[in-house]
Subunit: 326 residues, 4 copies
């Protein structure tokens, strides 16, 4: 279940405070040039250090342990590990019995009957997105010349993102954000009708990222306020090019040859410095917690590269699924 | 690919103007009471006839051809057929070479190299949601006592839906809509971390429905404008009940025991009475088309029951996947 | 679960005494010429009427209800129905509580808690292989110019098959058989290492056919009696051609460009005319049953075409899975 | 593709001469007691050192890097690594262009267009079965009290296995073997009709093991020589117990509550000391190779524990799939 894709399959594993997190890619074609440094740029984009991002800086050095030989993918499953070096597990002991509001602590405790690794969010930690970013780097090579670009356009509801973050930090509080993603150069005909529409597949991938609360394709919410006459995109050339792109490059779940555009909305970081009320699940009594660990003011800041990775993974799989049609 | 679910699997087939459309459910447990009349209520809710819905009225009589014996599910694959009786295929011949704006005509023609059944949207017609509704009726029985309720709350941006539809009809135009869905009584612990988060699975199912352009969970887009302190839901009892429900019943991709709430936004109907510009894909020259067929003014009107069905299908599957944890 | 394949997916449904049985093929490429008569030859090969085969003759007329338009596959799910016309359900009422030895009656009753359609073997009836044969016809077109040929080479342990059948018939008893299958012209490089070896995929498909008790690849059982020096096939040309073919065209789970050869062994028909002892599952007391229905003396006689179909379905899927490697 | 199972999913990765091989188990329930020493017994059974097994002795120390916390499975993906410490890659350089007869060298080279890691069989090396054995240890805990026992009953066609191995060793040759496996205490009702029959699922898993050329269920090949009257197992008690067990515990693809019995036949080890003829794929000219690396005289000797592991993995998944039927 913890994998994505039918032909180009990405599986992640690991927990925030375990020895390693990692990713396995199954179905990667052979002959793709892969060295450890191709991951650097995207991993750095994800890494802590930007204004508002957590002070926990992992070096995120990829260790490729299978699927690459002499600098090229072999075609066999490709596994990449990342060491968890800077974990401070003691931070989390106090909150073991007091699930943090806005976190998955309670839900995971319930699901796994108390056996889950509660430290740092365990298996649902944002830390696991390191593996997603690494898989995305490979997926981007596979879908070339399709280009995927995501950027944050709002934090806390305003476009001056640095200002928004500073304000929230001063309040010991956190904020959310809004990110747009464009998939350029994507050919017409990808996606499968009905249960594997492009929107289904992309949203499935994107909602795997912790903290996303909404996704819009093309004009999204605005669409519901338009009339058909305004919304329908006029086709202006035999290659399917349209005059406008309200539908965001997808009709009936299939790419139409125009750019895919989607927008995601991210909740404020769950961990905040302020004291919060919760319940003690052992005693059943109210409790107040203060989260001392390191945390981002705005998780959305790190997300553009993760969203690009998820989109690339999804497009790579759709591309290979469509290969049956020669 | 054209199926949904891992254990409770729904597959649909058929084309708008073929002899039948249908659905096969694989993984249905035995012993569920199923007769042809249990589908009536939900099929009627989906059926044409409401203000703004198309005049094509199918009788939508389910023919169960496998998987039911003596009034109960057998546990074997359950197939239900629906005859397509009121097709007027001639309506579509004229538009064969002139893809309709806002429809999947061009995308499907490209994907399937011209072999797709272009009549009435073919395999991507909204007609196929009849099978989804039927599967939803069974899924609702399986997830009982979980209750799923969706309703349209806006059409064309206003809450007086009848008025919005009449206006659009007078303009020979179409409008979109906004639907909320509540999943009540859902236990904590459903969903799988990361790639099969509840949001991933629900959005995957929901975006299979043609015409949906956005989905929000809990406070959705509004979340990105809140501060962590406001957004985090205070846990007030040992069963996970929260004081507020900004997160919509899901944390870290797992249900937390509170109601799931999501909202979808639907584009205006693609087929409109007004003449529209497009291209002739054979000659490469501009063309003008008028869509004479029957069509809804607002497809969102029929959708609440389809969204309920998709949500029920998704929850049924999540329930069975979680059964490994006894 | 009741489907086979990842990209070229075959799903069957129906029960022996329901109104229809059928098959849905998902992932069929568009543009394949399909009319109802292309199925005739293989369906006839499977049909009753040969010496030793049951007297229940179904007309097995395929009704294509989706996925074909103007004589070609559309690329959308392709569903074919077959009416069950000659059912005599009364034959089975007597044995409802007395599971037939050698049949799945007891196992299905237990699995499905008594809700299974027990008539004629229900969902595990050999009747369902009609759908498999139909899917095989399409798969054979897809894998062309690969040729698959199966033939029965022994019945009841002897090669004079007609004689073996007559003897068994006179004894009111049944016999088994042995079938070889050759897959000619298959390119090197199909199959996935480890969990989806060619042997894994082919055996999975073949063991779906009721009544098969063993499969051998290449020299099969004989292999275990040879020495490495004898068994290893000498490679004699740069296209991988080998001097001998002990390994049956597969090394390390991947096709090596030589012919695939496998052999299956089929048990005697479970239904026999002789009285048999069993238990009454309601009373717990011993019972004696006589099976009056129609039944084959040797089910293996009909099986070559079913085995060909299963092999073709498996090869078609392996071919499409391998397409990621351009 | 390189995974097995729908709910209890096993994925292996790594190459014979890479830094690590490993296994990820997804869908493991929480609360299973797991420490590194529970793997020792089965890993030792698999390990080299028996008469006839290769001299390459890996320490096979499992490093659990995710999915276990405080000695219990967490329910999240469980990854175990094994270091490859004793690789002598130089042994393989000479044979790079001369595919070894009986090995997958040629097939993998062709499939992966020359990018495969050819050292030591790369991704199709028997070395990868270490991960399978580890997964099997966990699966055995899950299916408890079901017991799986496999043993080698013949090598080179005789039951004095030590003698057979010594003879072959003296000849610088290799031999095959025959292994039986019993699954005791398995409840009735596991398996899915048609495409996921118990035979389909077990054979799929078992044929993933390199070198297996045949599998028989119950009386297997012998079945085809029997008459129905002899083969059908008389049911003697209401819990499905049968007087004989010719069918090997499975009817119509579903377990019937009796012991599952299957037999596998293994080819002689592909690597032998004797010089062998092959082709040079670069020059197209005949070549003679001598395989100097370490190799087993009889790979079948190590296989019983691997077969047990595969059977346990398959049964664990069938058990969870059946859980939808409460």
């Amino acid at each position: 279940m913890n994998s994505f894709g039918k032909i180009f399959r990405t599986m992640i594993f690991g927990e925030s405070h375990g020895p390693y997190i990692g990713v396995t890619i199954d179905g990667c074609p052979p002959g793709i040039s892969i060295t450890e440094d191709i991951f650097r740029h995207d991993l750095d984009r994800r890494k802590a250090g930007q204004p508002g991002a957590t002070e926990r800086v992992e070096h995120d050095k990829p260790e490729i342990i299978s699927g690459v030989f002499n600098g090229f993918s072999t075609g066999a499953p490709l596994t990449i590990l990342f060491k968890n070096s800077q974990t401070r597990s003691n931070d989390y002991k106090k909150i073991k019995d007091s699930p943090r509001p806005g976190h998955a602590d309670y839900a995971l405790w319930k699901k796994y009957k108390g056996f889950n690794d509660y430290r740092g969010g365990g298996c649902s930690s944002g830390r696991l997105t390191v593996g997603v970013v690494a898989a995305g780097v490979i997926a981007k090579k596979i879908i070339d010349p399709v280009i995927i670009e995501a950027e944050i356009i709002e934090a806390g509801g305003i476009s001056d993102i640095q200002k928004a973050v500073e304000q929230a930090k001063n309040n010991m509080d956190s904020i959310g954000g809004k990110i747009t993603c464009q998939i350029k150069g994507i050919p017409a005909g990808l996606g499968e009708p009905f249960f594997n529409s492009v929107e289904s597949v992309l949203s499935h991938a994107v909602f795997s990222i912790p903290g996303i609360k909404a996704i819009e394709f093309g004009d999204g919410i605005q669409s519901s306020l338009m009339q058909g006459n305004q919304f329908n995109d006029e086709i202006i050339s035999p290659d399917g090019k349209t005059l406008t792109n309200h539908s965001g490059g997808i009709n009936g779940g299939i790419t139409n040859g125009n750019e895919i555009i989607f927008t995601v909305h991210i909740r404020p970081t769950a961990s905040i410095g302020k004291p919060q009320k919760t319940i003690n699940i052992k005693t059943g009594k109210p409790a107040t917690i203060e989260i001392e660990g390191r945390h981002d003011t705005c998780i959305a800041l790190r997300m553009p590269v993760i969203i690009e990775a998820m989109a690339a993974i999804a497009v790579a799989d759709l591309k290979f699924i469509n290969r049956r049609i020669s």
